[in-house]
Point group: C2
Chain length 208, copies 2
Amino acid sequence: MNEQDSRADDSGDLGMDEGSARVQELLEVGTRIFAEKGYEGTSMRDIAVAAGVSKALLYHHFVSKDEIYARISFNSTRNLYDFVEARIPETGTASEKIHAFMTAAASFFAEHRSSWIAASTAFWTDPDRHRMARRVARRRLFEQRLRDLIREGVESGEFREVDPAAAGRLILSGINWMQRWFDPSKSLTAEEIVTQYADIILNGLTRR
Amino acid sequence: MNEQDSRADDSGDLGMDEGSARVQELLEVGTRIFAEKGYEGTSMRDIAVAAGVSKALLYHHFVSKDEIYARISFNSTRNLYDFVEARIPETGTASEKIHAFMTAAASFFAEHRSSWIAASTAFWTDPDRHRMARRVARRRLFEQRLRDLIREGVESGEFREVDPAAAGRLILSGINWMQRWFDPSKSLTAEEIVTQYADIILNGLTRR
């Protein structure tokens, strides 16, 4: 195991040693600042000021802003997976399961918009290739879960013979693109919006 | 008319005085650099170096990097509209027209990926609110055209009673999100990807 691997593992899957309330709080402040200013525009100083702590204290908990960013986005990806998984019913049609997947993802998005955006941005900007690869793998599990639900519907004859990868990409595009236009002060909730998408897509998948 | 309005109009709809080949060339270099480095990460110096011209020459043609960025993204939005409009057949079903809209948008995206991304980013970062409002209006025309095609299908009975705004958003989400993952070196073209999306969505819209 090389030094980089060892460092990544010591950091506890990039999220297991976040027990302390102080660390949690700093990560939450970091999430907000990164979402407001972007990765490039955010400094350790910005986070310290917003959290009302000294830079020295911030550096006591985190090696760099990079570490804060990585933890936020890694946690967000992991939490999204767990949140959605817990809301997919064990029985029912593939349509029902996919609808549950979509509304759960929308709820998570609406609740954790800042870290969702941070996680999404970190995908393309994380300078640590090793850590990025692990986060991409986690995200792939999430996408894979959705494709499996679509495949289940194709195999049972509930859906037409569609490519689960294409259908999964369309569903996730609808959800992901919300980060660019969704306004929580407007009348429709995130769940209502993806329910409209689900109506169209699931109708489009269903065999007649 | 206040000073800001007057300035915006004098700039020729932000794109009419781009006649000279030199200006066109500088805008193309700018498009590439902005796409690579983002708005914040790009300086006038970067663009001058990449174009092989002096900063003085660059400032002779453009007041600021902001002007370059605005022209690129405004042109991109306008060109997208014209490109797609020219490819929508005058006759045929709503499905055929929407499929044409989608593949035309995908072709434009694949051909002009850098300026598409610049235009998309500029939506949210342009510090000139007036200019941004005009660009948003232009983009809205594009979205409106798609909604009108969907409404046409609903009114003729070809489509179910869906909300044209929701269906239009889903279609544009699929196309727009491609900027985050599409890899032209992979096997599927942008047109093939949106054709998969069109198959699912148009099936989902069609009345049985």
